[in-house]
């Protein structure tokens, strides 16, 4: 977690919570601080970029997004929130995700449950082409 920022988690946590009881899991996660170990970290900058504009992870792994800028950003992989066709691409069957507005210092984690290429963007800076890509592979493929 960066600074005193709010931490936001989505994706795998939400799916797991549905299986074992949302309230208990979320409470445990927040109190233990062991939500979902991020396997990649992407920072959001004053230059209106995601520092790693393309990261490769295994299925079921988590990316942590850190707003290290002085600006408000979002991490948005939701076609219903985009206004440009090039902003979002999700693999077939993948759930949309959206961080909400992230103030300076806040973080957002998302677990990617489907293989394929995810293209996401920042809502306030969509016009400035603030985009990123996460490529999710089968773990077997990652070992090759």
């Amino acid at each position: 977690m960066v600074g005193n920022g709010r931490r936001i988690v989505s994706g795998g946590l939400k799916s797991a919570a549905a299986l074992v009881g949302a309230a208990a899991l979320i409470a445990a996660a927040w109190t233990s601080g062991t939500v979902q170990e991020a396997t990649a970290t992407v920072e959001m900058t004053n230059r209106l970029t995601f520092t790693s504009d393309s990261v490769v992870i295994g299925v079921g792994e988590t990316v942590e997004f850190r707003n290290t800028s002085a600006l408000v950003h979002t991490v948005t992989g939701d076609p219903s929130r985009s206004s440009l066709d090039a902003s979002v691409h999700l693999p077939e069957g993948a759930e949309p995700f959206h961080s909400g507005r992230m103030k300076p210092g806040e973080t957002f984690s998302h677990t990617f449950e489907s293989t394929g290429t995810y293209r996401y963007f920042c809502v306030p800076h969509e016009g400035a082409k603030m985009h990123g890509v996460v490529v999710v592979r089968d773990r077997e493929d990652m070992r090759e």
């Binding site: 900058t45 004053n46 800028s69 002085a70 440009l84 306030p124 969509e126 016009g127």
Partner: protein
């Protein structure tokens, strides 16, 4: 707070470009645009000739004496725009790339009339290459260079009642914006002690205008900004503050909520690069002051209180707010 970061090059490099002198004002004379252009005309006389060619002079003359301006069709528009968190982009002096859709070509120039920079740009103030305009010769507030500052706050309440320029107006504006540099200094602009009920070189629609095209080819405001749909804009006289102390008053203050006119790397787009589906708010305190008697603007640096690394003062505020909440009602 996270310190400033230039979007394209270092502050030092930008500072080296800034002479601190004639932003916008060194537009210089233009080439012969008419066969009657006198060969013995001085640079100053040539520039005055272009200032006199501001395209809305006749329109403004027709509206200057209107005592009770007509109201907007459909009734007043009330809008509020706010930003409660996040930083801002503060524009730094830079040359402006000239869009042929707005400025034409050296062979057929457009947008040359009016006070240079705040309205048109005389051909003599433009660089050209290969039969095309390239950039403004002078530094302007409308380039691609910007610095991010933290803790941007914005609160604007505006009512658009009067439809046209007039001697009086029912329009209203309450505006305050602030932001901080990395040293912890707080800069603020407040408006409006007085609304511009009628324009000097271009219309101001009673001081507040809603749902209108501004800038670029509209010739309403500087042509150096792209042609952009504007949900709300105002012009008035306000004041500039630093750390709670008034730096300068009165100053011309212009704010507008528009479609998004920045591209990759935060460059200021041309007309073809505008993103119609996103919005942001611009604050402008230009290095110009209106002269209503002469019907033009004169150069006048803003005492911003912000100093560039070369110890030259930043002579204007052009600040963009990108994390805005917007509310509006019509016909109330």
């Amino acid at each position: 707070m996270i310190g400033p970061t230039t979007t394209r090059r270092s502050l030092g490099a930008i500072a080296a470009l800034v002479s601190g002198a004639a932003l916008l004002s060194a537009a210089g004379p233009g080439p012969d645009l008419t066969a009657e252009h006198p060969a013995e005309e001085t640079d100053a006389e040539s520039q005055e000739r272009f200032v006199g060619m501001a395209p809305y002079r006749g329109y403004l003359e027709a509206h200057a004496g209107v005592e009770e301006p007509p109201r907007l069709a459909g009734g007043p528009v009330e809008m509020s725009v706010s930003q409660r968190s996040g930083g801002v982009h503060v524009a730094l002096p830079a040359q402006r790339e000239l869009d042929p859709d707005v400025f034409g070509t050296p062979e057929l120039p457009r947008a040359f009339g009016g006070t240079p920079g705040i309205n048109g740009l005389p051909p003599g103030g433009r660089n050209a290459s290969g039969g095309q305009w390239t950039t403004s010769k002078s530094m302007t507030p409308f380039g691609d260079e910007a610095v991010v500052m933290g803790n941007g706050r914005l609160k604007l309440e505006a009512t658009d009642v009067s439809a046209v320029d007039a001697a009086s107006s029912e329009d209203e504006v309450t505006f305050r914006a602030s932001w901080e540099d990395e040293a912890g200094n707080t800069y603020a602009v407040e408006c409006c002690q007085m609304l511009a009920t009628r324009g000097v070189e271009y219309p101001t629609f009673g001081g507040v205008v809603t749902n209108h095209i501004l800038h670029g080819s509209s010739r309403i405001g500087t042509a150096l900004m792209p042609t952009e749909f504007t949900y709300l804009a105002f012009w008035g006289m306000g004041r500039v503050l630093k750390n709670g102390e008034v730096q300068q008053a009165p100053r011309l203050v212009h704010g507008m909520l528009t479609e998004y006119v920045r591209g990759e790397g935060y460059e200021l787009t041309g007309d073809a690069g505008v993103t119609p589906t996103r919005k942001h708010f611009h604050l402008m305190v230009p290095p110009m002051m209106p002269d209503r008697e002469e019907g033009r603007f004169h150069h006048s640096n803003v005492e911003t209180g912000f100093t560039l690394p070369n110890d030259k003062p930043l002579p204007f505020w052009h600040v963009m707010f990108g994390n805005v909440d917007i509310q509006s009602t019509r016909g109330g």
